[in-house]
């Protein structure tokens, strides 16, 4: 009963707050007047002046792409250097050694691509300096980059006969100053109020009631956790991520963090609606996402509460925290994989087979069920193109979306964007399953071992970051494979999306006639859902059948590995 109430409060808060935040963000990104402009307008101008940005100047798609790539590249280099030099830098109270080159590569790639896969545990690997100067910064700007790419795409869709898609630097600045930063400040303080630590003091030594020594790790955690959730980053300050009592101390902090994960991706759907001047188009996308989200949640809850014949338990507590319980752990696992957050409050490796399957499917579909901030929306627009194209083939008309013709070039780019992450998941998993260094990292055997590998590369390709953490990925093999997977999963989509944006911006907008294929009704929502499931489902059905599906049936007959 209590579980049902918590679930309802979460869903209601989501549906109520997303449109409000969406409207606010639309005002911010369109450059209109809004609440915080008088307060932080000076800061925005200051950033432009110091960096030498002309905020009036707009970019074509190639310049915009160059901005995205250069900014990500320099962010990567800075984060890589900070890690391999941390022993020589200040704010390293625990005297942690320099990070190995392959772990530094993986972590730098992970945080600049908004993945936040972690092959390490923060408390024994990274200094306070690297956590804030490296990771916190990328938590902000990699999220803002996702929003910027999304903005470029919607400008391409809603403008006509132009080369210009807006200014990348302006989009990032506004995302950070008016959206991410204010929300992060509020969330940080709320979390500290619940017990999340925020200090520069060294780790404390306690003498327990039984007289043993216990080291208590501390750090500027709350400020990083706030943005880790809001930016769908997900990289924990501590190894156990949001299961750690210092990252997520109470059921209420859990509720706030959960809402923070999904609220910006959900809000951006409505921002899109304001750009299109069509609430119904936005609602169609929102309904599609909510449907897929609810379906996954229902399957996952059913599976987790079902009886496990091996362990003789319903709703296992392995890898779960008492204060959060089973329902909050499952709800979080679905939310964190549907969005590309990847932070966890329970250990996914120990979830029931079909709950693990839902998590994997969420990531394999391309992180489009709300998805990452910005990236979720440009991801689902790719699927909308595909749906409109297939519907066009069926009725024999040139496909259109928002009055723009979708032609061979756009479809080619769409296919690249859909295939890039799929290739990573299937090919890289296949390699890992066939070589020694891929298999020696496993901690579970049987079908669950396959699931560990499959989960890892789905997480990398979807830029998610959550893990079946039994897999030890802090090896040269996995750090390099996963790092490359994240790179392809990020820019293998961003570049085609920006190319589409450029090509769409040049086109005219056709008038809506009675012959226009509508993209804002139930028929379209159903078609879109079917296309998403067929493309995602058919691509990944074979490995899923050999992993979690087989494990489910074997579990029911009591087989162990």
């Amino acid at each position: 009963m209590n579980e049902a109430i918590q679930l309802i409060i979460f869903m209601l808060s989501l549906v109520a707050l997303a449109p409000l935040l969406g409207r606010y963000m639309a005002r911010v990104f369109m450059g209109e007047n809004h609440l915080l402009k008088p307060v932080f307008g000076w800061l925005e101008k200051l950033v432009y002046r110091i960096s030498g940005i002309n905020s009036e100047e707009e970019m074509n798609w190639k310049t915009y792409t160059a901005g995205v790539l250069l900014f990500s590249l320099f962010g990567f280099i800075l984060l890589f250097l900070l890690q391999i030099l941390q022993a020589y830098l200040p704010l390293n109270g625990e005297k942690l050694p320099n990070v190995s080159w392959h772990l530094a590569f993986n972590t730098a790639m992970s945080f600049t691509t908004n993945t936040n896969w972690q092959s390490y545990s923060g408390e024994n690997t990274l200094s306070y300096l690297v956590q804030m100067l490296g990771l916190t910064v990328q938590n902000f700007v990699s999220a803002a980059t996702g929003i910027a790419v999304f903005l470029a795409l919607i400008r391409g869709l809603t403008r006509k006969t132009t080369e210009f898609l807006g200014n990348f630097w302006v989009d990032i600045t506004r995302s950070v100053i008016y959206v991410l930063m204010p929300l992060a400040v509020i969330l940080t303080l709320a979390l500290v109020g619940q017990g999340v630590v925020q200090t520069f003091s060294h780790y404390e030594k306690a003498v327990t009631l039984q007289g043993a020594e216990q080291v208590i790790p501390l750090g500027p955690a709350a400020s990083q956790i706030a943005i880790k959730q809001l930016g769908t980053n997900g990289g924990g300050f501590f190894g156990a991520n949001s299961a750690h009592p210092f990252e997520n101390p109470t059921p209420f902090s859990n509720f706030l963090e959960l809402l923070a994960i999904i609220i910006i991706p959900a809000g951006l759907v409505f921002t899109f609606g304001h750009y299109m001047k069509s609430g119904s188009q936005a609602r169609a996308i929102f309904l599609t996402m909510i449907f897929l989200f609810a379906a996954g949640l229902a399957i996952s809850l059913w599976s987790e509460y079902s009886h496990n014949n091996v362990l003789n338990v319903s709703g296992s507590m392995e890898g779960k925290e008492t204060r959060l319980g089973v329902m909050n752990s499952v709800l979080w696992s679905v939310t964190t994989t549907a969005t590309s957050s990847g932070s966890v409050n329970a250990m996914h490796d120990s979830l029931s087979p079909l709950s693990g399957l839902v998590n994997m499917v969420n990531m394999m579909l391309g992180e489009i069920i709300f998805g990452g901030v910005g990236s979720g929306l440009y991801g689902i627009i790719i699927f909308i193109f595909l749906t409109v194209f297939i519907a066009g083939l069926m009725v024999g008309r040139t496909p259109e979306y928002l009055g723009k013709k979708i032609e061979a070039y756009e479809i080619k780019m769409t296919i690249v964007a859909i295939l890039a992450p799929s290739v990573v998941i299937k090919l890289f998993s296949a390699v890992a399953c066939s070589v020694g260094p891929g298999l020696s990292s496993l901690s579970n055997s049987g079908p669950h071992g396959l699931s560990e590998i499959l989960y890892a590369f789905s997480s990398a390709a979807g830029n998610n970051g959550s893990a079946f953490a039994g897999l030890n990925t802090n090896t040269v093999f996995y750090n390099l494979m996963m790092g490359s997977g994240m790179l392809i999963g990020r820019f293998g989509i961003i570049i085609p999306v920006l190319a589409i944006a450029g090509s769409m911006a040049r086109k005219k907008i056709a008038l809506v006639t009675s012959g226009t294929f509508r993209t804002d009704n139930w028929l379209f929502v159903s078609l879109l859902i079917i296309i998403i499931l067929i493309v995602g489902g058919l691509t990944f059905f074979p490995p899923l059948a050999l992993g979690p599906v087989v494990e489910h049936f074997l579990m029911n007959s009591g087989v162990t590995f």
Partner: protein, 191 residues
Amino acid sequence: MKTQTIIAIKFLMIMTIMTGIIYPFLMTGLAQLIFPARANGSLVMKDGRIAGSELVGQKFDSNIYFWPRPSAIDYNPIPSGASNLGPTSDKLKKQVKERRRLFVINNLITDTTAIPKEMLFASASGLDPHISPESALLQLNRVAGGRNLDEVQIQKVKQLIKNKTQGPQYFLFGEPRINVFDLNLALDSIR
């Protein structure tokens, strides 16, 4: 291209200063001002020393204390972590069986008593500070024996378990639970 490169470098520097220095320092300052105890780890002092954090579970295996959940890291927080054993793991199956056996023997309860799940399975962080109130009550006989408590004192401990049980937060969020460290701390002061 050259212009964009220069902008990218300058812009990254400014963002680093803004979100990597000013933001965390400002947040630390405000946190230390408004919630100093919580921002520093909710530490609990006893006899002039830090006895632990209210939020971080610690190891108890003596018969004079209530015991927490199984932990994959034995309550050593550097680093936190879980077993990550899967739902068909043979190792986990054996662990659960062994934990059940030991829980029954140590707590002097019958074989058929239903043992709450959290006492048989390891937590996600390895530092879970809570157990369910039922789990605490099942341990009462053992603790009473370990401390040679008389009937009046046992009633006091029972009352203590009741008082220390936390219901859903703000009447809505989370599960009923009891903080083991907190309970044991209070237990030490019962005479």
